[in-house]
Symmetry: C2
Subunit: 337 residues, 2 copies
């Protein structure tokens, strides 16, 4: 069954301009990350390097740096520290998440807990989290540090909420959005806010950049949810089906379940409650998600968040940085279109 | 075999005076703890209350409060926040420790991970850790916050070092002392330092109180190590033998192994490396630990740290608080004598 295109035509966008503009800053952020993950306790730098050097996109520190630059910040030493701290907090949550979910892969590599054991992953996560705060203390900027302390407690609460509700067929959309706002979007928001605060940006810009980060994070997560069912393309990405196989209830599934209520209850119950989640069930779930328009609806929702992210940028002066941040918001969704 | 008394006669001491003096402060600290462990995510307050209300001695926040009072601090609102933050950090490490060690009991209750699962224990630990920093941000006192951020990274490194070395017969005394300094004593030191900084104590007093906390923490831990083999009394406490049964190499064992090198290598290897750690082996280990004087040597070492803790107190003015802190240092060791 061919996937229909998402309803609204959207700009495609990419992350290239932002990555290029931020390159000199990210060299310094990477240097800080490498320097501060060191320890005289042997397993710590090994395990930390395993996950940190796998890289990922460094999207969150990139946003912290861009938020500092887009308001005209020039002395970026503190913003670099906040950017590195954001990456440490993110890495700590990945290490703990993988233990919590018993995941086998992370950033395309064998998950750290399968090499060094779950105890080491938990404790090295704790170490990176503490190091994030040590780095932030060096800036002397309490308000920005407070933003990331608060984000950390919001993230942990979102993780617990997800843990207790993510495999729950009675999950409602509002609770699902609350989970991803806490678990994913809050750190994007805090990264932007702390980056702006780190260069003493005016209040209006700080609030706007926080809003940009929050909406961008929601757009990214919903597009990821859609990508897990192949997005709007006819071919499936290499990690497609992961959420389904783990029995995770995400927005495309929630919408499809609501739209097939009565008719398909037995199928969804068998899949989510009873663990019938083989290739055949995945194909059927994907058909229902595409056929009911749940996938388009999810991408439309992601698009609306991306538009809100771009709208927030109007509060900062036009510049190549602002254009690059707008492009990133479009890219968040176009990846899945 | 009767346990010979430890070599040096020591003052007995108790914690009563300190507990009594600090009662009004601790009412406020407990109120903060209860207030800040709340969350709208249902499992969090339940799990947090399970471990927090089991209580323990609240020794670390007590030390933070006492450090603020002993230097004549009067407006203690910030010191109370640091005290509550110290208890949150401690509780977070206990939750993670129990997952790491697969412990079954904590503070006399079933360990939280056996009720709510290891994932919830990991994530609620993360939540409490983040909440500790949120509380500290409210004080606006960056230097004291930095002390606890640094302590947190030292503790995590100590935990990893213990994890990789604690079951290692080739562990040396120096590494063992490094582990307990990081894992246990550092938080005592940071509690005292942050409490003193919280009331803007003079530099000399801050350094002295840090030294008090560090030495007190070492004395407590070594006395605990001795207690696990019954201390200097003839009767065994209810948790005696736990370290041995878990194959943990502690100072009494290290000293006994060194003093029986050659003769008893096969016994120690069978116990620690091959897991032969039944009741009979425990009795034999205890005999060797007492017979070789390893137990007395451990208590003497603990006593020396307690004396160093008391000596550090000379830098603060004489007062009922100072006397109570000195009593606590004696009590740290006399519990095991």
């Amino acid at each position: 069954m061919a996937a229909p295109r998402a309803g609204t035509a959207r700009p495609s966008g990419d992350a290239e301009a932002l990555v290029r503009l931020a390159r000199p800053d990210m060299v310094e952020v990477d240097r800080l990350i490498l320097e501060r993950m060191q320890s005289t306790v042997p397993v710590i730098p090994l395990l930390a390097e395993h996950i940190v050097s796998a890289g990922g996109k460094r999207l969150r520190p990139l946003i912290a740096v861009a938020a500092a630059r887009v308001v005209g910040g020039e002395r970026l030493a503190d913003a670099h520290r906040f950017a590195a701290a954001v990456e440490f907090i993110h890495t700590a949550t990945l290490l703990h998440d993988d233990v919590v979910d018993s995941s086998e892969l992370r950033r395309g590599k064998v998950a750290a807990h399968l090499i060094w054991g779950a105890p080491s992953s938990v404790l090295v996560g704790d170490f990176l989290f503490a190091r994030a705060f040590e780095l932030m203390v060096e800036t002397g900027q309490m308000r920005a540090l407070g933003v990331l302390a608060h984000a950390s407690s919001v993230i942990a609460q979102g993780e617990v909420l997800q843990l207790t509700r993510a495999h729950d067929l009675k999950l409602d959309e509002e609770t699902y959005l609350r989970i991803i706002a806490a678990k994913t979007a809050e750190l994007f928001a805090a990264a932007a806010e702390a980056g702006a605060l780190g260069v003493e940006a005016p209040e209006g810009a700080v609030a706007a950049l926080r809003s940009y980060g929050l909406n961008l994070g929601l757009a990214f997560q919903l597009a990821d949810d859609a990508l897990d069912y192949g997005g709007a393309s006819e071919t499936l990405g290499k990690n497609a089906g992961d959420d389904f196989r783990e029995g995770k209830v995400t927005l495309p599934l929630l919408i499809a379940m609501a739209r097939t209520a009565g008719r398909e209850d037995a199928f969804w119950r068998a899949a989510i409650d009873d663990g019938k989640r083989g290739d055949e069930e995945f194909r059927r779930a994907r058909e229902l998600i595409i056929g009911t328009g749940a996938l388009s609806a999810t991408l439309d929702r992601a698009g609306a968040y991306a538009d809100a992210a771009k709208a927030a940028l109007r509060a900062v002066p036009a510049s190549p940085w602002r254009a690059a941040l707008a492009d990133l918001a479009d890219f968040a969704v176009s990846r899945a279109a």
